[in-house]
């Protein structure tokens, strides 16, 4: 039953060698599929069918692979490969060796290593090296082959082999030591005959496939324990190093995604892990790269995926050793290919859009430093850990912990890192080192801790004693600010802001197609003209939520404070005038940026405490007293939104007049934003009715003053469960609803977000009580049911009522699909999520419930 039993005795397998030895390209004709041929055999069949040149070789199908352990079958295999290659093993002028590999029905990990050169003997080794033209070209590869055969087929104890390898670091002596050890301790000496070597190699590969470590690997991949492998015997044609070698290439550039073969090329005998620093770029290929490009393009069109190939160069000619769709192609490559295939008509645009998920869009829009061109580039190192960050320089763990203690972002700069730097790295926003590569300890630790890092920055010198870092001639001190991008390796002086990248052009193309597929509108939450411009550039159709309270913070805070804390009505009116003036300016800039798009302006909805001075900070005793009287135990549930407006009756009229007057100004320039005025935190229809009067009167006042009748819709936010339940009554006064799902979630669950996020949600998710935070993913059963009910009741009263969602959920793909399912008109999310929302809305349209992970419950 075991592999070894087959070796003894003449085999019956040779009787039908045609079924056992299948030349590349002939598997399908013989009725064999990937289960029998292995992924590699099937791929070689495909390459032959596409007319691409392949390295000659054959497959021993999985069902009969053990028969290759039989010397007779091995002999037949050697003969056949010699015929296919047109060369003979042992020929001094045009030598041939064999390479044995295994493959499973699909691409998996944990296959035995390839045995890279069979057919070598101690006597022939020097002659082979002479043909290649490099003295020790073969030694290390052959040593690895001998070692594996000795351990797995000839039963030499592994510990002895380990010792021999450690004692003989030089490959040539290592081979002699291994052969000697095998002669003394093996079940038989290492043979010279190629067929016998091949038979033993097959046995070693299959035994290795049977070893505990290979079994553990199958288990980890949930593969059957008794999964069979096909064996492949490939010709390894030896030639001079200046015209021969091997390499790998992928079809697309990883950064740009454009069709452009990328890869490397090595001279000498092929091995699975080529030595570092010996690769050469593809344009050094002596025979040119035209054939390689042709092969990659042909394969891409055939497989509809970015592809990778392994190739051999023999006397300047390329032939393929392996080819497959790239397992996990770079995102840019997938996006570019989807766009390319659709433009060429190989795919429908819809199919192309559906190949790129919302999460991938998010990943393409990763955070990066906002560059304006005037930055001072200090150095460019290796991109070692993704992400962008800015902070002040610290030169030791000690300083990192001290300076970082109050939340100041710090960047740990070191020439090299030792374990003593780890605490500093953990306390830092980012890490910069002068030495080491992307696999340095510093890089491994930085990624392990999720910190952006740039490593191996040439010319960086750290002087801890002086507290300085120099980049060439430029000297910075501990405490100076730097910014770095762990994706590009760039390090800049000063503190740059970090923002989201703009979509690359091919993604814009796909998003344009996505826009044509979706029903659901996508708007953005934007409070200032700058945010509106960003959102529009990212494809927002309008503004779904403009929070006017942001206009009251910063330098405007004293104004609103005077309104709230005024000692008498005269002082209050004066403060209101100033406020109205300031807001008028803000609204004018905002509306100009919005253009002819819809914009929902929410009248003031901040909890009162945000505007009150801290205790003891009021300007006089009277104000202190009035502020104390206004302080609340639970401001989020207190005097907020419409409630504040009904108490301070001039507040909303002043805001609305500023807004309408700004619209009139902007309209004079030919721009007509579709204005929607929204009343927040309503729970009684009467609240809405009363404040609607304020807005109508403000519009009338502006019309009287300017002669412009401003078109607008009046609506309300649905943030309280009561508002959702009374949606029918509210719809009598409202022309639109916007579901504020953040507050609606808090109030439906009775969660205080800040508190539960710290104390409750993580524990709930760990225990499986919740699969996702309801603040990140709209709860379809509770909050979602309220939205569904409100939509139904509102439409019953006012069939065409406009319905949208403006919570953070508007940027979450699953929540977006849910809103689309309810037939809402739009979602509104933060500007940088707009592309994600556009893609998510397009994916939710063909309502085929392609459930990604079943995580909604």
């Amino acid at each position: 039953m075991s592999v070894t039993d087959r070796e003894a005795g003449p085999s019956t397998a040779v009787e039908a060698p045609g079924r056992i030895l299948v030349p590349f390209g002939q598997g399908r004709i013989r009725g064999l599929d990937a289960d029998e041929l292995g992924a590699h055999g099937a791929a070689m069949d495909r390459l032959v069918a596409l007319g691409l040149p392949v390295v000659p070789g054959l497959t021993v199908p999985a069902g009969t692979s053990a028969s290759l352990c039989d010397p007779g079958t091995a002999e037949a295999a050697v003969d056949l490969v010699e015929q296919l290659a047109g060369r003979r093993i042992g020929d001094r002028a045009r030598p041939l060796l064999l390479r044995l590999s295994a493959s499973a029905p699909t691409e998996i990990a944990g296959l035995p290593p390839d045995l890279a050169c069979l057919g070598v003997t101690t006597a022939s080794m020097d002659a082979l090296c002479a043909v290649i033209g490099r003295a020790d070209a073969l030694h290390e590869v052959w040593a690895a082959t001998v070692r594996m055969i000795a351990e797995y087929a000839l039963d030499v104890p592994a510990a002895m082999l380990d010792d021999a390898v450690l004692d003989a670091p030089e490959p040539r002596t290592r081979i002699e030591a291994l052969l000697d050890l095998t002669a003394r301790h093996g079940s038989r000496p290492f043979p010279d005959d190629p067929a016998q070597q091949l038979a033993l190699a097959a046995r070693a590969v299959l035994r290795r496939w049977d070893s505990p470590r290979a079994r553990r690997s199958r288990k980890a991949q949930r593969l059957p324990a008794d999964l069979g492998v096909a064996l492949h015997v490939q010709a390894l044609r030896i030639g001079p190093a200046d015209r021969s070698g091997y390499g790998t290439a992928v079809s697309r550039h990883p950064e740009t995604g454009l069709l452009s073969p990328q890869g490397s090329f090595f001279r000498g005998v092929r091995r699975s892990s080529p030595p570092p620093h010996t690769s050469e770029p593809l344009d050094r290929l002596t025979g040119g790269r035209a054939l390689l490009e042709h092969a990659l393009l042909t394969l891409e069109r055939h497989l509809h995926a970015p592809v990778s190939v392994d190739f051999e160069v023999r006397d300047d000619e390329i032939s393929l050793l392996a080819a497959s769709a790239q397992q996990r192609p770079p995102l840019r490559a997938s996006v570019c290919l989807a766009a390319d295939l659709a433009r060429d008509g190989a795919l429908d645009p819809e199919e192309a859009v559906l190949r790129i998920g919302p999460a991938q869009v998010q990943e393409l829009l990763h955070p990066q430093l906002r560059l304006t061109g005037g930055e001072e580039l200090l150095v460019k190192g290796l991109a070692a850990s993704p992400g962008a960050a800015a902070g002040v320089i610290v030169l030791s763990s000690e300083r990192a912990l001290e300076v970082g203690a109050d939340g100041t972002p710090v960047v740990l700069v070191a020439h090299e890192t030792t374990p003593a730097d780890v605490p500093g790295m953990l306390a830092s926003a980012a890490v910069l080192t002068g030495s080491g590569g992307i696999a340095s300890h510093a890089a491994v630790v930085a990624r392990g801790a999720g910190r952006p890092a740039v490593c191996g920055a040439d010319g960086l010198r750290v002087d801890r004693a002086a507290g300085t870092v120099s980049f060439g001639d430029r000297v910075l001190r501990e405490g100076d600010a730097v910014s770095l991008d762990g994706r590009t390796g760039a390090v800049y002086a000063g503190r740059l802001s970090v923002s989201v990248a703009a979509p690359p052009p091919e993604l814009s193309t796909l998003l344009d197609w996505a826009d044509g597929m979706r029903r659901l509108g996508v708007r953005a939450n934007a409070d200032s003209a700058a945010e509106v411009s960003t959102a529009v550039a990212l494809g927002a159709e309008g503004v779904g939520l403009c929070r006017t309270e942001h206009q009251f913070l910063g330098e405007r805070l004293p104004l609103i404070r005077r309104v709230l804390l005024a000692a008498d009505p005269a002082a209050r009116d004066e403060a209101l005038k100033a406020l109205e003036h300031a807001q008028h300016e803000d609204f004018r800039a905002l509306l100009a940026a919005v253009g002819n798009r819809p914009v929902t302006v929410r009248l003031l909805d901040a909890p009162l405490h945000e505007f009150l001075p801290a205790p003891g900070d009021a300007s006089d005793a009277g104000e202190e007293q009035r502020a104390a009287a206004l302080r609340e135990a639970n401001p989020m549930l207190g005097l907020r939104g419409v409630r504040l407006a009904l108490l301070h009756e001039r507040l909303y009229p002043a805001q609305a007049e500023a807004l309408f007057a700004a619209w009139a100004d902007v309209a004079a320039t030919g721009v007509r934003p579709e204005l929607e005025v929204m009343i927040p935190l309503v729970s009684l229809p009467e609240e809405l009715a009363a404040t609607a009067v304020y807005v109508r009167e403000a519009a009338a006042a502006v019309a009287a003053r300017t002669g412009v009748v401003v078109p607008y819709r009046l609506g309300t936010m649905i943030e309280t469960p009561r508002a959702a339940l009374l949606a029918g009554e509210l719809a009598e006064h409202a022309e639109f609803f916007s579901f504020g799902t953040n507050d609606l979630t808090q109030l439906t669950y009775g969660f205080s977000r800040d508190d539960v996020e710290r104390q409750v949600l993580a524990g709930y998710q760990e225990r499986g009580l919740l699969t996702a935070s309801p603040f990140a993913r709209l709860d379809p059963h509770g909050v979602g049911a309220l939205i569904a009910l409100a939509a139904e009741r509102a439409r019953g009263v006012r069939p065409g009522i406009k319905l949208g969602v403006c919570g953070e959920h508007g940027g979450d793909p699953e929540s977006i699909a849910f809103c689309d399912g309810l037939g809402l008109d739009y979602v509104s999310c933060s500007p940088h999520r707009v592309p994600v929302a556009r893609m998510a809305a397009a994916h939710s349209t063909p309502r085929e419930r392609h459930d990604e992970s079943g995580s909604t419950r």
């Binding site: 290390e140 670091p169 690997s217 763990s397 090299e416 003593a420 605490p423 990624r447 392990g448």
Partner: protein, 210 residues
């Protein structure tokens, strides 16, 4: 930069010496009791930063003195041989950790691809197979170094139980954390600087190939 003359307190007590060496090799202590770190802090060998205890420069120099073997001795020669066998594997473990954290295109590994992860696990097995004979030899010439194999195996076991952080997280005694400690001990024992170490690794990795 040569190390300043450092003296441990007059009666170099064994526990204190062990503690300094441990703190320097680990780079930091987290969650230790005051009784453990106070003697070090009082001797000027440790500083306390919030929940962390860090070694001082003095401690680093002291640990270097304690660990350093006699230059030119046969023992140094044998440890050097083990160190040189360690270096090429040292390159591989960092590549394995890198592959676990990042896909070849540089994007973060989200561990949704079990084939990829199993491939990384295979190379980790190669590393683990390669380091064992090295550690067996080291144990014969460097007292106490046998513990590293046990610690590496424990990290590997935890990793195989599904806790990914046991490969490369700096916050636990992960495979990489233990490895860094072993590396640091070798450097101090042999008095080799990080720069020399890097150069020697590069030479061994590239020089041993064709």
């Amino acid at each position: 930069m040569h190390s300043p003359a450092v003296d441990l307190p007059d009666a170099p007590d064994e526990t204190l010496t062990e503690a300094v060496v441990d703190l320097v090799l680990r780079g930091m202590w987290r969650g230790r009791t005051e009784a453990e770190y106070r003697p070090l802090a009082e001797a000027g060998l440790a500083m306390v930063k919030g929940p962390l205890v860090l070694p001082t420069e003095r401690a680093k120099a002291a640990a270097g003195q304690v660990l350093r073997v006699a230059p030119g001795s046969p023992r140094e020669e044998r440890i050097t041989a083990a160190y040189e066998a360690f270096l090429p594997v040292n390159r591989k473990i960092r590549e394995v950790c890198t592959a676990w954290q990042c896909r070849p295109d540089g994007t973060a590994n989200d561990h949704s691809d079990s084939v990829y992860d199993a491939g990384v696990r295979e190379s980790l097995e190669d590393v683990h197979e390669a380091i064992q004979p090295v550690l067996r030899r080291l144990e014969q010439v460097l007292e106490g170094s046998g513990r590293y194999l046990g610690e590496l195996e424990e990290a590997l076991e935890r990793f195989d139980e599904g806790e990914a952080k046991w490969l490369a997280s700096p916050l636990c005694d992960s495979y990489h954390t233990v490895w860094m400690r072993l590396h640091q001990e070798l450097l101090l024992v042999l008095g080799i600087s990080r720069a020399e170490d890097e150069a020697r690794e590069e030479e061994l990795v590239t020089g041993s190939r064709d």
